[in-house]
């Protein structure tokens, strides 16, 4: 876990201690909770710095923290192929779940192209709006689908194009 403390030091220097909100160390894999506004800059920094060199984005997962919590998380799993280490970043966004007010997270598709489809998937199923994404269309569901099925408060529609589906 050397890399984990090293990343914290590097980010503290580069971003003047403004990037990290909290450090989660309770689980098996520690994670850094990053400021939403700093996310894209942090990712670019971590990708290009020669000590970290996280050139591989494994996965982006959107998590609904529950109706009571009133927030969504987006979790980034990074890996470095030359250094063979891993890192978890999180962004937590508060949201009131209104359909015209999606939680907004800056896109990292300019840093890793992997993020392109992963962000589309998160938008499609969880309703996270990735600001600056070049092509944020629905990916798995039809483009006229209503609602975001992976949300905990999602209710299935009674009809689809006038056809009863229940």
């Amino acid at each position: 876990m050397e890399i984990f403390t090293r990343v914290q030091e590097l980010l503290a220097i580069a971003f003047d201690k403004q990037a990290i909100i909290t450090v989660e160390q309770s689980g098996l894999q520690p994670a850094l909770v990053i400021h939403r506004e700093k996310l894209a800059a942090v990712c670019l920094f971590l990708r290009d710095h020669e000590e970290t060199y996280f050139d591989f984005l494994s996965c982006i997962s959107a998590v609904d923290n529950g109706v009571d919590a009133g927030s969504f998380s987006v979790v980034y799993h990074l890996a470095s192929i030359p250094h063979q280490h891993q890192l978890t970043l999180k962004v937590i966004v508060e949201n009131d779940r209104r359909s015209d007010n999606l939680p907004v997270v800056p896109t990292v598709s300019g840093v890793w192209r992997t993020a392109d489809w992963h962000e589309r998937e998160a938008f499609d199923l969880m309703g996270i709006y990735f600001e600056g994404h070049p092509d944020l269309r629905r990916i798995l569901l039809p483009e006229d689908w209503e609602g975001y099925p992976l949300r905990k408060d999602y209710e299935e529609a009674e009809t689809y194009h006038g056809i009863a589906i229940k």
Partner: protein, 401 residues
């Protein structure tokens, strides 16, 4: 909720429709799939073409979306295993192995699993890896016009299917690897039959090599086509044979050293550009052929140990460590494993006092590998698109989940 309210989030959709409506007079939009034989399932590709030249490819996925992640939030960990089988349905054992490993590590029992169980898991996973690669090679041959390799590959794969059916009771979707153990021990005589298969299968590989790998027609269709440089592959999150063909030695079986892979000897084949350029379609094909040979080596070593020091005993219970209820504290964990197609990851968010996860996200290798297709196919011929798509080796069950 009306469509009107969602309008700000429809911008990209409108831009996409406007772009297709405004294509030039010499261009044409051609629809390939979802029922096209060479799209390997229900994948729809929209091609913007200028004569025979493909200017742009827009993939549309999701026709096989079966809500794996939503299902996983409604049932406990053990019940989710059959659903993981249906993701990459050509390599079900590998899927459940990855899933089970994640749960076991969160439970803290991953070091207590008996060696015999781990070796059986690796044995069936490698058998499944061979089966998956045989399909990749066989269907790739048929994609570009060689019919015989397809029949030969399916003939050999059938032996693997029969063996795995004997062990698990099912031909393709096994539900064999369980959290903490296995469904059953291997049937009596499985090791001997598996050894017989290896002896039968080994001489078949050079035959396949002669038929396809060094075939001049095959080489001219695949060499120097769809060259994927290593930096592009990494940036797009490609993994598995796709990334290794671009010359990157990256195999999670070696990097993460999970299960009993550190005790086994095998090489990691990478693309060398023997027939053309590093990272072309031929390299991707060749890496798969070489991986089959390495898998055969792993199987031989597993059999040696399963028949020797880890021999079947009458009191051996493969379900001894299977937990009655998976009790986890609230935590999150990302597990990754090397599937035949690349890095398969599961991200778990657990909750307390229940054995139903709060969130399970599956990172399918095919999903990421496919996302590089628009980049690979700029300015190519339509016939080459089929060659490139076949060399990516996607399984739509995993792209759409």
């Amino acid at each position: 909720m009306s469509v009107e309210v969602n309008r700000p989030y429809q911008e990209a959709q409108e831009a996409y429709e406007a772009r297709l409506a405004a294509i030039g007079a010499e261009e044409m939009v051609i629809n390939m799939g979802p029922q096209h034989p060479s799209t390997h399932g229900v994948l729809r590709l929209q091609l913007v073409t200028d004569g025979e030249i493909v200017k742009e490819v827009i993939p549309h996925v999701g026709y096989l979306h079966r809500c794996f992640e939503k299902h996983a939030e409604s049932m406990n960990y053990g019940k989710t295993i059959p659903f993981t089988d249906r993701m990459d349905y050509l390599a079900s054992m590998n899927n459940s192995h990855a899933f089970v490993m994640g749960v076991e590590r969160m439970l803290g029992i991953d070091q207590k699993i008996p060696k015999r169980i781990e070796y059986i898991r690796v044995l069936v996973c490698e058998l499944n890896r061979i089966a998956s690669h045989l399909i990749a090679i066989g269907t790739y041959g048929i994609d570009i016009g060689a019919f015989t390799p397809f029949m030969w590959c399916f003939r050999d794969r059938e032996h693997i299917m029969n063996m795995l059916e004997w062990a698990s009771g099912s031909r393709m979707l096994y539900n064999y690897i369980w959290v903490g153990g296995l469904f059953y021990d291997l049937p009596v005589g499985f090791e001997a039959r598996c050894g017989e298969f290896v002896r039968y299968f080994k001489p078949k590989l050079p035959e396949l090599d002669e038929l396809l790998t060094a075939n001049q027609i095959f080489i001219s269709r695949t060499a120097n086509i769809g060259v994927l440089p290593a930096d592009v592959a990494i940036n797009y999150g490609c993994s598995g044979p796709m990334l290794r063909a671009s010359g990157v030695k990256w195999d999670l079986r070696r990097t993460d050293e999970y299960s009993v892979y550190p005790e086994l000897e095998f090489e990691i084949p990478i693309g060398k550009g023997e027939m053309g350029h590093v990272g072309d379609c031929w390299d991707r094909f060749k890496v798969r052929v070489d991986e089959i040979k390495e898998s055969v080596r792993i199987i031989e070593q597993c059999l040696e140990r399963l028949e020797g020091p880890l021999k079947r005993t009458t009191d051996f219970d493969p379900r001894a460590l299977v937990p009655k209820k998976v009790n986890l504290k609230a935590q999150d964990y990302y597990v990754r494993a090397e599937n035949p197609k690349g890095e398969l990851g599961f991200y778990f968010v657990t909750q307390e006092k229940t054995d139903i996860p709060k969130r399970v996200k599956a990172r399918g290798p095919s999903f990421n590998n496919l996302s590089v297709l628009p980049e690979l196919s700029k300015g190519i011929l339509i016939a080459d698109l089929v060659a490139i798509l076949g060399s990516i080796d996607i399984v739509l069950g995993e792209v759409d989940r």
